[in-house]
Subunit: 317 residues, 2 copies
């Protein structure tokens, strides 16, 4: 059993190796590397590895670790392509990403479009020959969840501002734009080490719901932590905690409860460790920024107590 | 055995159906359809179907026709994504495509970026579950040939103008940007209906070389037919028939001979029919535009006689 630190190490090494296999022997290679490395938090690869380990049957995790790392790398590379394209002037127009110039600012626009396209292609190349029982299901879910009906439709709802037309649209955007990749990470990770079709199908539905809740919860917490900093009028106008407070708070509590229920029943320790680390960090951010939050009439107890209960459950194991 | 007209019919119907399966139930669907439909010449799907038919073992073509059409549709959908992104202002900046507004002019830039990304994802989704003996090889070749080392590196060489630094660079650009997708179409089509590994591997190499020659030849003919119309100074500066005439003519004759040699030995009739139709059309264009071409001191006999010999061989079967 690998702990979280060990999983981070193999995820990083795997990403370095699996990225190289897709790049041209040409100086343009540098632009691809810039878009992916040095690795960020590797949240999606870690969810993949954690699920693969938590649902491991027999020796599958060890036997298939090289293919599992191909998959976890594909997830990070795919995520990176979405960021490179999202940052383009015609999209979100961001000059900075992770504290340095975004790819299009560093290398130019057409270069960034091609880097994104190249990374997208490579993510599929990496999952093209996985040796495992449910490889076909992995590829189909990956393509469905991240394609025109999934993640990309989430980007559409965001950029077209349809996201802001109703609370349902907001949740659907979070579901497509954020949760789909999280679901893919865990579901495909689980399918890499599972052998029995019935278990695969049970765990599929569990992780589908858990991933959906986790993704939506993360985005709602993101919107909340945004309020711990100075924000401008436009950001105030679209922040659901300000103009749809009751619905947002109710949905936040609901998704937090669902996440908690899944983790309570879940037998493995890796997914618990990752979620716990994430919630701990968000809790600290919110506590430190509460002086900012009070001006918006948000109740600290209502919002933080349920997070602490989840953390208690996770640490008392 | 289906003739070319019948292959066009099933390619069109397949594309309509297989495109729909990837689109969201939302009005943004329209932008995806605009980028792909109505179908163009379907050159790549037809090469795929032709190869699948020419190399057919047993009843495979009929048994697997639905999966072969998924593949042929994936090729056209992938080709469409490259055109949508190529037309973007930051890339080639083209306002028109096939006689109407390009996707970004019709729907906007971020919409065109997302349409391209969505089509790219969908092309891989369509080949994610092909039922055939060499499905893994199909996916690997597809991802390799069209990815960051392949087609996209060709786009890089073009946009960076490295293409114009030497004749070798020009040929490598044609090879990557044009030939890779043609090779993919024929090789993957052949692999859909082949059963014996040894035949698969022999035909792989034959089609790899034929596809390379066909792709390079097409681009050189493209450059030549460009000269049958009024062109501006910039186009004159980069046209290899004007500033690298001898090398270009020698290479044109070489690739034409390779194409001819492949077709002479080739047993099926579909690939012959497609190539013949294409060469016939180019020959007519060149003949009609010769009054323009004479000013560049190009010799009609040297350039057209070999094309006519190939056409003679093909029609005398």
């Amino acid at each position: 059993m690998k702990n979280l630190t060990q999983l981070v190490e193999i995820a990083q090494a795997g990403l370095q190796k699996n990225l190289q296999s897709g790049l041209p022997f040409h100086n343009f290679k540098e632009a691809y590397e810039y878009a992916v490395l040095p690795p960020g938090k590797l949240f999606r690869p870690l969810l993949c590895l954690a699920a693969a380990q938590d649902y491991n049957q027999g020796e599958n995790f060890d036997k298939r670790v090289s293919d599992i790392l191909k998959l976890s790398s594909a997830l990070e590379i795919h995520h990176s392509y979405t960021l490179v394209h999202d940052d383009l002037p015609a999209m979100d127009d961001d000059d900075y990403r992770r504290g340095r110039l975004s790819t299009h600012k560093k290398y130019g626009q057409w270069q960034a479009i091609l880097v994104g396209d190249g990374l997208l292609n490579h993510s599929y190349y990496l999952i093209s020959d996985l040796e495992t029982k449910f490889d076909k299901q992995i590829r189909k879910f990956f393509g469905w969840a991240l394609g025109a009906k999934g993640l990309i439709q989430g980007q559409y709802l965001d950029l077209s501002h349809e996201m802001n037309h109703s609370f349902d649209n907001l949740i659907e955007t979070h579901n497509l734009k954020t949760a789909r990749l999280i679901q893919t990470s865990m579901i495909c990770g689980m399918l890499m080490t599972t052998e029995e079709p019935q278990l695969a199908s049970q765990n599929f539905y569990k992780l589908y719901r858990f991933g959906r809740s986790l993704g939506i919860l993360f985005q709602l917490i993101d919107d909340l932590t945004e309020l711990t900093e100075e924000i401008n009028q436009h950001e105030k106008d679209v922040n659901p905690w300000l103009h749809q407070k009751e619905q947002t708070q109710a949905r936040y509590l609901l998704e937090l409860r669902k996440v908690s229920n899944f983790l309570k029943d879940h037998e493995g320790s890796s997914l618990k460790e990752i979620t716990s680390q994430y919630l701990q960090k968000q809790k600290t951010t919110l506590e430190n920024g509460w002086s900012h939050l009070v001006q918006y009439n948000l109740d600290q107890k209502t919002l933080l107590n349920p997070v602490m209960s989840v953390l208690d459950i996770l640490s008392s194991r």
